[in-house]
C-alpha cells in the first residue's frame, strides 16, 4: 500500500450506541430512578387490573342499601357510592377500565395514524401538500371535542369510547410519523442507497421503519397517559361507559356531586389517575432518554472555573507569582509524539509587549464515571502586540478548547486543570464570571466559525452591535448607533445605515463574518482570537476576510491568535505558528522557519500532505 503515513488516527471504539440498541437501552432504563418508579407503577397497575376479581372485596356494582354514601368504614375502607357500592372495589376495577380503554385507543390511533404519516412522508409531492393541510385542519379541533362529537354520533359504550379517544390522538401519530419519514428520506445514506441501485421500497422499509420504532414507543407511552386523562374526563361527564362499568372518572363525577358532604371521595380516584398518568409520562421520558443516550444533567459554567487547582510544582508557581522576567529554569520539555524535544515558549524571556501568556495549560474533561480525559496537556504560548500567532492543528488537537479556556467559555464538564493564562499580566484562570466579564470585550475578542450562527437571527445587526458597545461604555442610543456604524465601516460593510437595520440572514457568509469581527472589535480588545473564522467561507471570500484582518492588525495593532487547520491560511497570515497534535504542542516557530525547516516529523508530514494550487506535491497524471 502506498499509504505509509504515520498519522492515521487509531480506531475509535466507543460502545456503538445505536447498534446494540435494545440491550443498551434496557440497561440505561434501569439506571434512572424515575423510570424505575414508572415501570413499577405500571406493573402494579397491570397486576391489579388483571387480578381485579381476586383483589376486590366486592363486585363493583354490588349494592349495599344499608350503607349508602358512607365514609370509610371497616367494611368499606374507601366508603361507598350512592347505592352502597364499595368504592375500593370500584377503584380496583377502574384500573382495568383505564388500561383497556387506554391501550385500545392508542392502538387504534397508531393503526390509523402511522400508515397515513408513512404515505404522506414517503410519497411527498401533492399527497403530502394536501395531507399536511389536512393535518393542520384537524389541529383546529380540540381533542376532547372530537371525542364528544364521536360519542354524539355513535352513542355510548366501550367500543365507541375506544374509537373516540383513538381518533383524538391519531393525527398526532400521523404528524410524527410523517416528520420522521420526511427526515429519513432526505438523509444522505438513503440517497447513497439509491445511487447503489437499491429499490425505493427496500430503502424505506430497511431504513425508515427502524428509526420510527423508538419515537413511536415514546409517543405511545405518553399517549397512554393522555388517553387515561381523556377517558376520565369523558366518564366524569357521564359520556363514558355505562353506569354499571366502574371508572375512575365516573367515581370523580359522583364525588363532584357530593363535594359538600363527602369531600374526601375525590381523593382516591384522583390520586389513582394522577399516579397512572405520571407513570406513563415518566416511562415515555425514560424510553426517550434511553434511546438517545443523553445525559440530562449539565453543570453551571462558572462553577467550572472555580475548580482550578493550583499549578504544580511549587517552584514554578513561585517563579510565576514573582512575575519575574527571567527564564523559567524548570521548564519541562513538552514531549512531542516523535520523541525529540519541541521548543516551548517557556524558556525565553517574557517580552514587555506580551499580550497573552499561556503557561503549561492543561485542560481536562470530566466523564460521568468520574475519570477524566485530557484534552490539552502542558501547552505554553505567547503572543505579542501586533503579532499574529497561528494555532495549527487537525481535529482533536485541542486548539479550540485552548481558545475557549482563554475566553472562559469552556463547556460544562471541561476545565482548566493546571496552568496559567495571563492577559496583559492579569491572571485569568480561576477568575469569577464578573472578573472575566471585565476582561471580555476590552481585553479579548473572538470570532467563531459559522458565520450565520454567530449572530442572533431574530435581532438586527445594529441591535447586537449597540448592545455590545453599551456593555463597555455608557453611551446614549444615538451615540452607540453612530459608533456601530463606524465599526461596520471599519470592517468594510457598505451602505452602513441600511445594513444596521438588517437581520443576519440578509448577509452573505463573508459579510456576516465581517459583522462578527466588528462585534469582536467593539470593545477595542488587545487580543483577537479567530477560531476557524474563515473555514466555512468560499476561497475568494476567505481571502477578503483574511486581508481585512491583516489590515485591521496594521491599523489597530492588536495581537491575534488565528486558529486553523489550513496550512495555506497559516502561510498567508501568520507571523509565528504553533503546531498542536492531540492536545500537545509539537512545534512553535517563525512562519518561514516552520515551512522551510520543520523540526518535527509531524510538521513535516503535514507540509508534505498539503496540496496547493501553485506547486506539485506528488505527480498523479
Amino acid at each position: 500500500m502506498s499509504n505509509a503515513v504515520i498519522l492515521d488516527p487509531a480506531d475509535r471504539s466507543p460502545a456503538g450506541t445505536q447498534a446494540r440498541g435494545v440491550v443498551q437501552a434496557w440497561h440505561r432504563l434501569r439506571r434512572q430512578p424515575s423510570t424505575l418508579f414508572a415501570v413499577v407503577v405500571v406493573a402494579v397497575l397491570v397486576v391489579v387490573a388483571v387480578a381485579a376479581p381476586l383483589l376486590a372485596p366486592y363486585a363493583p356494582e354490588a349494592t349495599d342499601f344499608d350503607a349508602p354514601l358512607s365514609g370509610p368504614t371497616a367494611d368499606h375502607p374507601l366508603g361507598t357510592a350512592d347505592l352502597g357500592q364499595d368504592l375500593l372495589s370500584q377503584l380496583i376495577y377502574g384500573a382495568r377500565t383505564a388500561l383497556v380503554v387506554a391501550g385500545g385507543s392508542v392502538l387504534v390511533a397508531m393503526l390509523i395514524g402511522v400508515p397515513i404519516g408513512l404515505v404522506l412522508g414517503y410519497k411527498g409531492g401533492w399527497y403530502d401538500r394536501i395531507g399536511s393541510r389536512g393535518l393542520d385542519i384537524a389541529d383546529a379541533l380540540p381533542g376532547l371535542m372530537v371525542g364528544f362529537v364521536v360519542i354524539a354520533i355513535l352513542g355510548r359504550g366501550m367500543a365507541v369510547l375506544v374509537l373516540a379517544i383513538g381518533l383524538v390522538f391519531c393525527m398526532n401519530f400521523a404528524r410524527m410519523t410523517r416528520a420522521i419519514t420526511l427526515t429519513e428520506r432526505k438523509k444522505l445514506y438513503v440517497e447513497s442507497a439509491h445511487v447503489s441501485g437499491l429499490r425505493e421500497r427496500q430503502i424505506v422499509f430497511g431504513q425508515v421503519l427502524p428509526n420510527l420504532a423508538g419515537p413511536l414507543a415514546v409517543q405511545a407511552a405518553v399517549f397512554l397517559g393522555s388517553a387515561i386523562k381523556v377517558e376520565a374526563a369523558l366518564s366524569f361527564l357521564g359520556l363514558g361507559l355505562g353506569d354499571d362499568q366502574p371508572s375512575w372518572g365516573g367515581m370523580l363525577g359522583l364525588a363532584a356531586e357530593h363535594q359538600a358532604d363527602r369531600p374526601l371521595m375525590a381523593v382516591a380516584p384522583g390520586v389513582a389517575i394522577l399516579l397512572t398518568v405520571l407513570a406513563f409520562n415518566l416511562l415515555g421520558d425514560g424510553i426517550n432518554d434511553a434511546l438517545s443516550g443523553r445525559r440530562t444533567t449539565g453543570r453551571r459554567r462558572s462553577a467550572v472555573l472555580g475548580r482550578l487547582r493550583p499549578p504544580t510544582p511549587p517552584t514554578l508557581a513561585e517563579v510565576r507569582t514573582a512575575r519575574s522576567a527571567g527564564p523559567a529554569p524548570e521548564a519541562e520539555p513538552q514531549p512531542a509524539p516523535a520523541g525529540s524535544g519541541a521548543t516551548p515558549d517557556d524558556d525565553v524571556e517574557v517580552p514587555a509587549d506580551t499580550v497573552l501568556d499561556v503557561r503549561d495549560a492543561t485542560i481536562v474533561a470530566d466523564r460521568p464515571d468520574g475519570s477524566t480525559v485530557t484534552l490539552v496537556h502542558g501547552v505554553s504560548l505567547r503572543v505579542r502586540r501586533g503579532e499574529i500567532l497561528g494555532l495549527l492543528g487537525e481535529s482533536g488537537s485541542g486548539k479550540s478548547m485552548l481558545a475557549k479556556a482563554v475566553l472562559g467559555l469552556l463547556p460544562p464538564g471541561v476545565r482548566l486543570a493546571e496552568g496559567s493564562v495571563r492577559l496583559n499580566g492579569t491572571e485569568l484562570a480561576g477568575c469569577s464570571e464578573r472578573e472575566l466579564r471585565a476582561v471580555r470585550g476590552t481585553g479579548l475578542g473572538v470570532v467563531l466559525q459559522n458565520p450565520q450562527a454567530n449572530l442572533s437571527p431574530v435581532h438586527t445587526v445594529g441591535r447586537q452591535l449597540v448592545d455590545v458597545l453599551r456593555a463597555h461604555h455608557p453611551l446614549s442610543k444615538r451615540d452607540a448607533r453612530a459608533r456601530a456604524a463606524e465599526l461596520l465601516d471599519l470592517v468594510g460593510v457598505n451602505d452602513v445605515q441600511r445594513r444596521l437595520d438588517q437581520y443576519p440572514y440578509q448577509f452573505s457568509g463573508g459579510m456576516a463574518q465581517r459583522v462578527a469581527i466588528a462585534i469582536a472589535l467593539a470593545g477595542e480588545p488587545d487580543l483577537l482570537i479567530l477560531d476557524e473564522a474563515t473555514s466555512a467561507l468560499d476561497v475568494t471570500t476567505q481571502s477578503q476576510v483574511l486581508d481585512l484582518v491583516l489590515d485591521l492588525r496594521d491599523r489597530l495593532g492588536m495581537a491575534i491568535v488565528n486558529i486553523t487547520h489550513d496550512l495555506g491560511v497559516a502561510a498567508e497570515t501568520c507571523d509565528r505558528v504553533a503546531v498542536l497534535y492531540r492536545g500537545e504542542l509539537v512545534e512553535v516557530a517563525d512562519v518561514v522557519d516552520l515551512f522551510d525547516r520543520p523540526q518535527q516529523a509531524y510538521t513535516a508530514a503535514l507540509l508534505a500532505a498539503h496540496p496547493t494550487a501553485d506547486h506539485d506535491v506528488e505527480v498523479i497524471a
Partner: protein, 292 residues
C-alpha cells in the same frame, strides 16, 4: 468499444431547481446549471472546481440521475441518459457510482458497514452469499481496511476509515465512472492525502474515471488530469490541469487562484498587494459604472 469515444460526454447541460414560495404554493424556477459541456475519457480524472452556488454539485447529481435534466445531453458511452425517464436502469447504477463528502452520513448508522457492500452486490445479482462476502472482503482490503472492519458499525470507525468504506462500496461494483462530490473536504489533512492516494492507486489498477467535484484548487491540482472552472452555473474555463492553474485565461480563474492560500509564506506581501490593487480596480470600475 470505440477507444476515442469519451466515457462521459456532457453537452450543453441545463438543470433547473424549484424554489418553494412563502405559502408553499408559489414556486420560482432557478437555472442552476446553464449550458455546461465537458468530456471525460476512460481512466481520466476530471476536476470540476467552483465555489458555493456554482452548480458543481448539481452537475454531479444530474449525472447521477438524482436531479432532473432540463436541457442538453448526458452521453455515457454514446447513450443519452438524460432522456431515460423516471426509472434508472440497473446497469447505469452499476456503471456510475458516487462518493460523498460526509463519511458518517452516507452510511446507515444501524447497519454494519459490510452490509452496505453485500446489499449492493445482492441487488445487482452478483454472486451468491459467499461470493458476495468474499468480494466485500476483497474490496475492503483493496482500500486498506481489514475483514475485521466488515462487522463494525459506523460509530466505531473514524472519518478516514468510513470514507474508505464509501470508496469500497462505490468500487465493489467495478463502475466505469465515480462521481466524487467533495469526497475529501471533510477529512483531516493527513487522512485526505491517504484517500487521494488510494483513489489514484485504484484508478491505475482498474481504469475507472473520476469526476472530482471540489472547491479546493490545491486538491484538484494534485488529483485531476483536466479541470473545469464553474461559476454561476457556467463553465468559464477548462483544460489540462497544469495549463489552467499555471496559465489561467479567464479573469475568474485568476481571481480564484489569487485568493487560494499558497504553500509557502514567501511572496505573500506581494500577493496581498496584488489583491488589494485588484479590489481597488474593481471598486473604481463599479463607481465609474454607477456614475455613467
Amino acid at each position: 468499444m470505440n477507444d476515442s469515444q469519451p466515457l462521459l460526454d456532457v453537452r450543453d447541460l441545463h438543470v433547473d431547481y424549484d424554489v418553494a414560495g412563502a405559502a408553499g404554493w408559489r414556486r420560482r424556477t432557478l437555472t442552476v446549471v446553464k449550458g455546461v459541456s465537458f468530456t471525460i475519457a476512460p481512466g481520466e480524472t476530471y476536476g470540476l472546481v467552483g465555489e458555493s452556488g456554482s452548480g458543481k454539485s448539481t452537475t454531479g447529481r444530474a449525472i447521477l440521475r438524482l436531479a432532473d435534466v432540463s436541457g442538453g445531453q448526458v452521453l455515457v458511452d454514446g447513450q443519452d441518459v438524460a432522456t431515460l425517464g423516471r426509472r434508472t436502469p440497473l446497469a447505469y447504477r452499476r456503471a456510475v457510482q458516487a462518493v460523498y463528502q460526509d463519511p458518517t452520513a452516507s452510511l446507515n448508522p444501524r447497519h454494519r458497514v459490510g452490509r452496505a457492500l453485500t446489499e449492493t452486490l445482492a441487488r445487482h445479482g452478483l454472486g451468491d452469499r459467499d461470493a458476495r462476502r468474499r468480494r466485500a472482503a476483497e474490496a475492503f482490503e483493496q482500500v486498506g481496511l481489514t475483514t475485521d472492519h466488515l462487522t463494525r458499525y459506523p460509530s466505531q470507525l473514524s472519518g478516514g476509515q468510513l470514507q474508505r468504506v464509501a470508496v469500497a462500496r462505490a468500487l465493489v461494483l467495478e463502475p466505469r465512472l465515480v462521481v466524487c462530490d467533495e469526497a475529501v473536504s471533510a477529512l483531516d489533512l493527513s487522512t485526505q492525502a491517504q484517500i487521494l492516494a488510494l483513489l489514484s492507486d485504484l484508478q491505475a489498477a482498474s481504469g475507472v474515471s473520476y469526476l472530482f467535484i471540489t472547491h479546493d484548487l490545491g486538491v484538484v491540482r494534485h488529483v485531476a488530469h483536466r479541470v473545469g472552472v464553474l461559476r454561476g452555473g457556467e463553465l468559464v474555463e477548462q483544460g489540462a490541469t497544469r495549463q489552467v492553474l499555471d496559465h489561467p485565461q479567464h479573469e475568474y480563474t485568476r481571481a480564484l487562484l489569487a485568493a487560494s492560500p499558497s504553500s509557502h509564506p514567501d511572496g505573500r506581501d506581494e500577493r496581498r498587494a496584488e489583491r488589494a490593487a485588484r479590489r481597488a480596480a474593481a471598486a473604481q470600475a463599479t463607481t465609474a459604472q454607477e456614475a455613467a
